[in-house]
Symmetry: D2
Subunit: 309 residues, 4 copies
């Protein structure tokens, strides 16, 4: 897939990484999950995102996920790969591996652990782009990296051809709309929301698509939502989003205090997928706890109400 002709849009689920009880990558489950997504009609797949526990997997495990995904998907849809590390040279090393493995695009955050600023962050993206011949998405996720990418910088990087777009998980809808509006004229620049429950509003405002973690659990719902929006049927899009927003309440099943906020959401997605029979178990990477029997029971009720069991 060549850089020039690929455009990115639609539903691109950030795929969770199923694990065995021993904490190793469960490639069989991963392949079943990928198949479910493709059958549902998603427009792309994003592995090794935050939802994929990229920050927790070892280098070997990351390589295994990428290899499995690219091999199994076989070019049916583009595969985007997260290249998360603290700073530029470390990201480039990881990105080079993703390129060699056959990724269609890479997704990188601002530097973290580093005490950085906007100028360094722009240099960071420019250096990654210069070093790695793949479409590069900027992943705006202040809750993890503790800096925000400004619309002005993102649009400038888009204009230079440094980035092919943005995955916005900033939770800042004002900034998101400014980005959409200011990038409206740019070619080959895609803006995705990473938030599960505002996809209808974001699409109305002009977003190119969504990267919703909840799509792991219900890709068909998000595909319907996307197609309704494409057809201009906003009432239907809103109704589908309302249904998915109710489904999203599974992330509140984990007992607060027992399970961290990071583990709660991902743990809920994995548990729902296990209940649906897509993946074998709901094991989380260390040091996160997996959801327990009682929390699983709560999720089961929500899935039943949603007609997903």
């Amino acid at each position: 897939m060549s850089t020039e002709t690929t455009t990115f849009s639609g539903i691109v689920p950030p795929i969770v990484t199923p694990l065995t009880l021993e904490g190793e990558v469960d490639t069989t489950s991963l392949e079943r999950l990928l198949s479910l997504q493709i059958e549902a009609g998603v427009d792309g797949l994003f592995v090794l995102g935050s939802s994929g526990e990229v920050g927790y997997l070892t280098d070997a495990q990351r390589a295994q996920v990428v290899q499995t995904a690219i091999g199994h998907v076989g070019g049916q849809v583009p595969v985007l790969v997260g290249v998360n590390d603290m700073t530029t040279n470390r990201v480039i090393a990881v990105a080079e591996q993703a390129r060699e493995a056959g990724a269609d695009a890479i997704v990188a955050t601002a530097p973290f652990y580093a005490i950085t600023d906007a100028a360094e962050t722009a240099t960071h993206f420019r250096s990654i782009h210069a070093a790695v011949d793949l479409p590069l998405f900027a992943y705006d996720v202040p809750v993890r990296v503790h800096s925000k990418l400004s619309p002005a910088m993102l649009v400038e990087l888009g204009r230079e051809g440094v980035i092919a777009g943005v995955k916005d998980s900033s939770g800042d809808d004002v900034s998101f709309r400014m980005l959409l509006r200011q990038s409206a004229g740019l070619e080959n620049f895609a803006v995705f929301t990473g938030h599960e429950v505002v996809v209808d509003g974001c699409l109305l405002m002009g977003a190119s698509g969504a990267v919703p973690g909840l799509a792991n659990v219900d890709p068909h719902g998000y595909v319907r939502l996307w197609r309704a929006a494409q057809a201009g049927n906003w009432a239907a899009a809103k109704a589908e989003q309302d249904r998915l927003t109710d489904l999203f309440s599974i992330v509140e099943a984990p007992t607060p205090g027992r399970v961290s906020a990071g583990a709660a959401g991902l743990g809920a997605f994995k548990t729902a997928l296990a209940l649906r029979g897509v993946i074998t178990g709901n094991t989380m990477c260390a040091p996160m706890l997996s959801l327990d029997e009682s929390e699983t029971a709560t999720i089961k009720v929500v899935l039943e109400q949603a007609g997903l069991l």
Copy 2:
């Protein structure tokens, strides 16, 4: 206007407080501004919000604003009054004055300066409601009070009849959608967005209306946006919002570094209103700087492009 029968919805601009060069309330300008809003067809007016520089006005100036607004509006639309102070008893004292002056509803934040928690915040709203016989709106503005009101607490307070709704300036669209979805069944509970550039998306997602500072400058635009959304004409709503988003770029006219972020937005609104001839000058409360000639010239160009001069 009795508590039982009033419902709140639509466009409710948070009115800026025009000042004379000496820093006193310019009541004549305030009346002209209120008239412009009513003529444009707004559904309510909110005085002494953050846009009204409530945190900067003295007690006497606040009283003057309330008296002027309620007198001039004369019941044509409901007047909501901000009752901002640090903690419960201080808010109640201010709210009692608003009630005596004839306010139709009051708007209160969580405690600030205080090092507080969710339980105290809920008690805070319950105590205000118990003490003051007026519809009470919770104003969620973490950028100023440094705590976030959770959807669960707000829905619970709504269910108890403590609050009549929420003005959300949290910038957190995920929380906003959860609030909309979880309060969907509640009667007499209105959810407003306070963000200027996402009103189309928020209305699609089910918001009751908007409290956009930019409506000071262009109330007709927001009224058109609201009416398009009410009619289910989402393409028109989006187009109007795009136009207003471009207009919102006036807040970027102030030179970064010269003017604080707090002064930039409000200063831009006041300057635009002065350019439009609605208010006499663009003076800001101390210690904020007013926009200068060069910044004013930048705003003039944007207004001309928007056809507002």
Copy 3:
């Protein structure tokens, strides 16, 4: 007491505001508390600080506290008065009242609720100084006002004669040392730490004194610590501080989750003072909860171990 000749140093406890069960100022208890402090040999008294629940008291209650304190102290030691409000003109109004009531100095924070910056904050202090003829202390308390006062700004304001010193509750010891070092040559500029458990280290580093909330409970201990440090007996100062640090564990008596962080510390001080018979009860301002019987029992044990009962 004239501005020119007063210098400030030593132990200046931030006095809690005793309340009756009904939440009114308990002036009799307040007078007993002030007497205890003076008998212990403190060098000044600070009323209406955060420890005095300044953010929670109504205007009338604040006036009552100031009047009671200044009347009862009768010039034996200087009385500093907190003049807390959101922005410049509101602070000036409060400060003018403190001056009329006979305060020896006033203590003001940066603007809060406001979205401000360093330039506005400097203007804020300059305007207060210009308007109110009293020594002005800058109170650096980012945990409440959410901005930090830089050493460079504080030293500049000191050099201009705008501020007479700083009460540092920033919890940032690096900044504190830079402030001490950079202000080392300034006349009539006093730097106080507001932190109870690092007074020995701060005095070694050159601080002018301390404003420790825990001194409400054990003023004699802090006076001994101060005198040891003055005598260059650092081992004795450290030993006294260690004892007071153990005593400070009373702030951990309140059950986490039941009582807010803001209420826990002040509630512990009030409860200890009630147990010591200095004040009548441990009532807190709304919406804060007062410490309960079980929490009080925990504090009693600590006081007994400290030989304070």
Copy 4:
């Protein structure tokens, strides 16, 4: 060096990583720097800390630094190695390499990029300790990892034998004193401050030593400060610290806005070392800028005043 018998105390500089113009590790300069430190009488050396740009070096460069340091030091003083990565399993992989290379101890932070909590963080340290047979230090650095390690957790981990101590770069002196006081009875538990300008106060309060980045530039000064404190000569300790605090002003030489806060401090240390002829150049890791000629000139003046040129 066996785990049982090593105790850690005194001055343990966090060694910067000299780079060639091409951005590769300059091992010759590194060896000269290590020699300077040992000659000055430091008590240990810490490589691959934040000052060592651990977050910026590639895996190969990190290995080169560890190998060079352990080889060159040859057991004269203990060598602590930073094992920074996002989460538990990734840290263990890095730590295992440090152990094989001959490290005397390892230093790990809380998880980052992860959205974690206190329970996960404790599990994280316990798992690292269980997997890697080396003394483990907890590195408390909220400005980078965005969570704070509580004294209670650290003392509990010390009691369990999980950690051998703490490097505190939290900037929270209250928490630091609580940690010192609560760990006072623990054997084999060392508490180091990571802040350059408060070492005298921290040692008075009972700290085991310091890990000051500025000691790269002037190890002799910190060794004198440590020895004065050990001898109970607090006036001398304070005077030496005042001198070092003045020297620390080199971190303000970089032009604000041109160089990030992260690059300013480290860049100043490298530049000062280059001016002193200890290392060859002041190159920083990408994407950080190196200090320029004008900034270097400013630092030169400070070094001259300090008698270090």
